[in-house]
């Protein structure tokens, strides 16, 4: 029975269904204390003094700490060590952590917070990006944490001859776009439980996607040897990038456990999760694209301005990502990218599903739709002419191994009936009756594409070690244990290791046990981010298993008196392909192998191919492979209310070979859910520096009733870099969804909404403009005069798309 490619249940599904899975908040230890964190009520202020006496005197309070107890700076990126577990001198957003209390119960800890008196000296908050660019205002960070004043990071790169590219163009389109910030909204609030033994061993159970990076941050901030710290990722109720930073509450729980000698648990409230954020950056974008008469791109100039919030987080990488992947879908012979991230006094932005790429993809795919309409071309056929080819490089030195985008477009076009000629009929007004309301409705279809990396090519901190390690141990009873540092955040990465082991050894998936995400027990895997886990842990797992298989085959061959090469693992047996009477049970074979070779175990590791281009910044965007996706959205727009209903989504995804099609489809549907929400309603909004809607009721994301039906198509290229040909599926399918919806709205009502979320009032405003005969558009009108640095000019690689000189 083949396991790879079979639609199997996840190995942890029973635990989830019956409620046996232990999330960090489910855990409890004897003598455990409960901690709460006091958070800043000021968006920007100096801390003058903190008086904790009132809290310390409250019966039931065991310990109170402030920034002085944990002053060492940390941050996920080595270049952005700008956070403190509890602020020492300054607070930078409403919600920044200031002090913490451990008490016998959470209520007492909460009450104690009210007894801590913090004296602030308020500073003018910097709330908008324009305010951040104003150098007369206070700097949020001082010293080396920013490139310049409130500009965290500046990037400028130019590949190929941009001027020549625009000179070759027959049509040049410039426009500005805005993609609003939004948050992950994982159902599980972050929680952490720390325990410190009298002999100096610290253990932290946490809802984290990156135990290895948390491990490093704890060693640094707590000044403990990493060898005495154990970090375990508990069951995780969704991550989406929101649990990939080391967090204040993790360090605080550990510090309090060390001070009190008692276990300490912190579970954040939903409001605190909104404050931790690290979600999608709001990005303002300016796009200039040149094309020939047939639409062939000759040059692309892309500017981004990211609102980073109060801290660095992954922001340097996010900034590069807003420019890196524009080139991996269509052939672009000349490309200039200028990016800038600024600090503001709001919760820090970071990586959310698609990390830095849904924003530029939104702009680019709408931009292409505008160009296609202008040139009178069918948006699908148009795109297909210029898709990148297998085994080539892009102008910015990214390596394309396989690209199934053309087939993805075919699949969604065929299924949806997308095509320019039917537009007139679709966009006729018709009446529709929903819940008593007779609405005036227009329908539209929109297409967009996207691509995402299958794992970052470089680790977060510079090193030459593997990105993923796996240990496999075979027990005499026939059971196989797989140990890997990877964290399953619901995507099924743990199950995947079991499938691979079962496939390789020809045994039942239930005979494989997988132990993950425990820095004491499992070899390092860098974590669940950048869509890296299937490709990297999968390859590491195969490399651990294959030599072990050879040992078993050697022993079996001796017994069966046949060459080892003639044997294979199948259905719990080792069978000679030439003479199937010669066979051994799996358990017999491993007993022979253990007798011959000793304890049966193997280690494997994986490091992505070295592919960085010859320029600073080339580390962001490189990957073993890229996934591709095409999406058609069908919308209905009520022209009197501006309300949009996404009626249906067709989405084709090239994630390489689907190791389990159900899990890949699940990732596609989850991505669609998130993409539709970002397109229509999700939004981090602030009044002053205060989050307007930090709750599941007021922060709008789709309910089950707002979710459209999704038809998923898996386009299975067989990628040479992937385990069994697999690429990524966790993030890429989100990318085409928001622009497909925006393009569908244009198809329906002829107005462009060039920013998210596309709300009813924006649609009505654009319709009013249309009625007045003005540009039928809602979106940012201009891009601020930002001083980007001189670009680094980079010669494109040999096999990148070349600009053909046809003019002059």
């Amino acid at each position: 029975m083949p396991v790879i490619g079979a639609p199997l249940a996840k190995i942890d599904s029973w635990d989830k269904v019956i409620g046996a899975a232990k999330y960090a908040d489910d855990m409890s230890l004897p003598r455990m204390l409960h901690a709460r964190i006091l958070r800043s009520t000021m968006p920007h202020a100096r801390i003058v003094s903190i008086d904790t006496r009132g809290a310390e005197e409250l019966p039931g309070v065991v310990a109170v700490i402030t920034g002085r107890d944990v002053p060492i700076e940390y941050g996920i990126l080595p270049s952005s060590q700008d956070e403190q577990a509890l602020c020492v001198d300054k607070v930078r957003f409403v919600g920044d952590a200031v002090a913490a209390v451990a008490a016998l119960d959470a209520e007492t800890a909460e009450r104690a917070l009210q007894l801590i008196h913090v004296e602030y000296e308020p500073l003018t908050p910097i709330v908008t990006m324009n305010e951040a660019l104003d150098e007369t205002r206070d700097a949020i960070h001082t010293g080396a944490h920013a490139d310049h004043h409130n500009i965290h990071k500046m990037v400028a790169l130019e590949f190929g001859d941009l001027d020549a590219g625009f000179a070759e163009a027959d049509y040049i389109l410039e426009d500005t776009y805005f993609y609003q910030g939004n948050t992950h909204l994982a159902l599980e609030n972050h929680a952490a439980l720390a325990s410190f033994s009298p002999d100096g061993h610290l253990t932290l159970w946490s809802s984290t996607q990156t135990p290895h990076y948390v491990h490093r941050a704890l060693a640094k901030t707590l000044e403990l040897p990493a060898s005495r710290i154990r970090v375990v990722a508990a069951a995780i109720g969704g991550g989406f990038g929101g649990k990939t930073d080391p967090f204040s509450h993790e360090i605080v729980a550990c510090k309090l456990a060390m001070l009190t000698g008692r276990p300490v648990k912190i579970t954040l409230t939903r409001q605190e999760v909104f404050y931790c954020h690290r979600g999608r950056h709001p990005v303002l974008m300016w796009v200039k694209m040149g094309v020939r008469q047939d639409g062939e791109p000759t040059a692309l100039h892309f500017r981004t301005l990211l609102d980073g919030g109060a801290y660095g987080s992954y922001g340097v990488a996010s900034t590069y990502y807003t420019g890196a992947l524009q080139t991996v879908t269509y052939k672009i012979p000349a490309y200039k990218f200028e990016g800038m991230r600024v600090f503001t006094n709001k919760p820090p932005c970071g990586p959310k599903r698609g990390h830095g790429t849904p924003q530029p993809r939104f702009a680019l795919e709408i931009h292409l739709d505008k160009i296609a309409r202008h040139l009178g071309l069918d948006p699908a056929a148009y795109r297909k002419q210029f898709i990148v080819e297998d085994k080539t490089k892009t102008v910015n030195h990214l390596t394309i191994t396989t690209c199934g985008l053309s087939e993805c477009i075919d699949r969604v076009v065929e299924a949806s009936g997308f095509g320019g000629e039917k537009r007139e009929a679709r966009s006729e007004i018709h009446e529709s009756k929903i819940e008593n309301q007779k609405s005036k409705i227009k329908n539209g279809l929109g297409l967009a594409c996207g691509s995402y990396l299958s794992g970052a090519g470089l680790p977060i901190y510079w090193n030459q070690m593997p990105h993923s390690g796996v240990i496999v141990k075979v027990d005499r009873g026939g059971g196989v244990a797989v140990f890997c540092g990877s964290t399953d955040i619901g995507q099924g990465s743990t199950s995947l290791l079991a499938y691979i082991a079962a496939e390789e050894f020809g045994i039942d998936v239930r005979d494989v046990r997988v132990i993950t995400a425990d820095t004491d027990l499992t070899p390092v895997d860098l974590g669940s981010y950048s869509s890296r886990v299937t490709v990297m842990t999968g390859n590491a797992c195969i490399s651990a298993i294959r030599p072990l298989k050879q040992k078993i085959l050697d022993a079996a061959a001796e017994k069966l008196l046949v060459p080892a090469e003639s044997l294979s693992f199948r259905d719990g047996e080792i069978i000679c392909e030439d003479d199937d009477a010669r066979r051994l049970k799996w358990t017999e074979a491993i007993a022979l192998a253990e007798a011959k070779h000793g304890t049966l175990s193997g280690t494997g590791s994986y490091k992505p191919p070295k592919r960085a281009g010859p320029y600073k910044g080339s580390g962001v965007g490189i990957s073993p492979s890229y996934s591709y996706a095409a999406c058609v959205a069908q919308v209905s727009v009520d022209i009197e209310t501006g309300q949009v209903r996404v009626e249906k989504i067709w989405l084709a995804h090239d994630g390489g070979r689907a190791l389990n099609p159900i899990l890949v489809e699940g990732q596609v549907e989850g991505s669609v859910y998130m993409g539709v929400g970002e397109a229509l309603m999700e939004e981090m909004t602030y009044r002053g520096g205060l989050h307007k809607a930090p709750s599941l009721l007021d922060y709008k994301s789709l309910t089950m009733r707002d979710m459209p039906p999704v038809e998923t198509f898996l386009v299975e290229t067989n990628d040479p870099e992937g385990p069994f040909g697999a690429k990524e599926a966790g993030q890429g399918p989100l990318l085409p969804v928001p622009p497909a919806i925006a393009n569908a709205i244009y198809d329906a009502i002829g107005v462009r909404i060039d920013e998210t979320p596309i709300t009813p009032d924006k649609i009505l405003k654009a319709l009013e403009e249309q009625e007045k005969g003005r540009a039928a558009r809602f979106g940012p009108k201009n891009f601020p005069a930002v001083k980007y640095p001189e670009p680094i000019r980079v010669e494109p690689p040999e096999d990148a798309p070349r600009l053909e000189r046809k003019k002059g």
Partner: protein
Amino acid sequence: MLRLPPFEYHAPRSIEQAVNLGAEHGTAAMFVAGGTDLYPNMKRRQFTPQVLIGLNGVEELRGISNGDGITIRAGTTLHQVSNSPLLQTQYPALATAAKLVSTPQLRAMGTLGGNLCLDTRCNYYNQEFSWRQALGFCMKKDGEICMVAPGSSRCWAVSSTDCAPVVVALEGRVRLVSARGERVIAASDLYRDDGIEYLGKARDEIVTEILLPPADGTKSVYLKLRRRDSFDFPILGVAAALRLASNGEIESARIVLGGVGSRPLECVDSARLLIGQKLSHKVIGAAAEAAWRPARPLDNTDSTHSYRKKMARVYVARALGALSEQ
């Protein structure tokens, strides 16, 4: 991980026991029925009553009966109201409004009486304590000024009940009972145009019954504007009720808006334009225009206030359009 503050809980079995407990504990006590509004507010510390008097065990507060008009006892759940065949045929607007409240889980707990007494809402107010502390507190709880209209001497929190505009449009009445006695008032008089003192009932009074007049051919409809198809409170509700003469002329008309002020807003001018008319396209347009003008939503709910105001016209027109087809 927000938790309820500690309180003492009483579970009376009769209205009499309930109101006596109310009299006994005075201002320390609050009544709670389904708890779907009060408990979340208590978790966020909008209310910290020392005593709660739970009405869920009072059997005489449950049920719908038909006689000279329809009597709905206040403890009837929103689920029961929305599924009542009697209401669905006689007063479909009320069944619809109840069906559109929040989620199935909350409708299974929430009651009609509770929905009518729903605390007014404002996104400067319905927040956790620490959030309001960061803001500086508003006058509805712990503060001095109204955050949405800082120059105003009153609170502008928004009446966000789906059922109130309907009950007012249907000319319903409510029975109020306290240890001091009982009285019946027009549903319209249950509300005051003030975000804090939004109810025209005393603190010790319980709404025990909602009394609807005989339907007698009344047509009614309720439309709700909200961002999502579930969970959300109305950011505009339109209840319309009409009675037509045999020649199709309108004899009586009531249009009531929810979600745009601190109390259900009766569109008297709009309704007056309908009397003696037939429901033509033109008449509907004129009535919608008149309904739109007095609506003054402020920027304290989801969506923009200018959009909510614009939608008042569209939704009133659609509500009347729906009635013309009933």
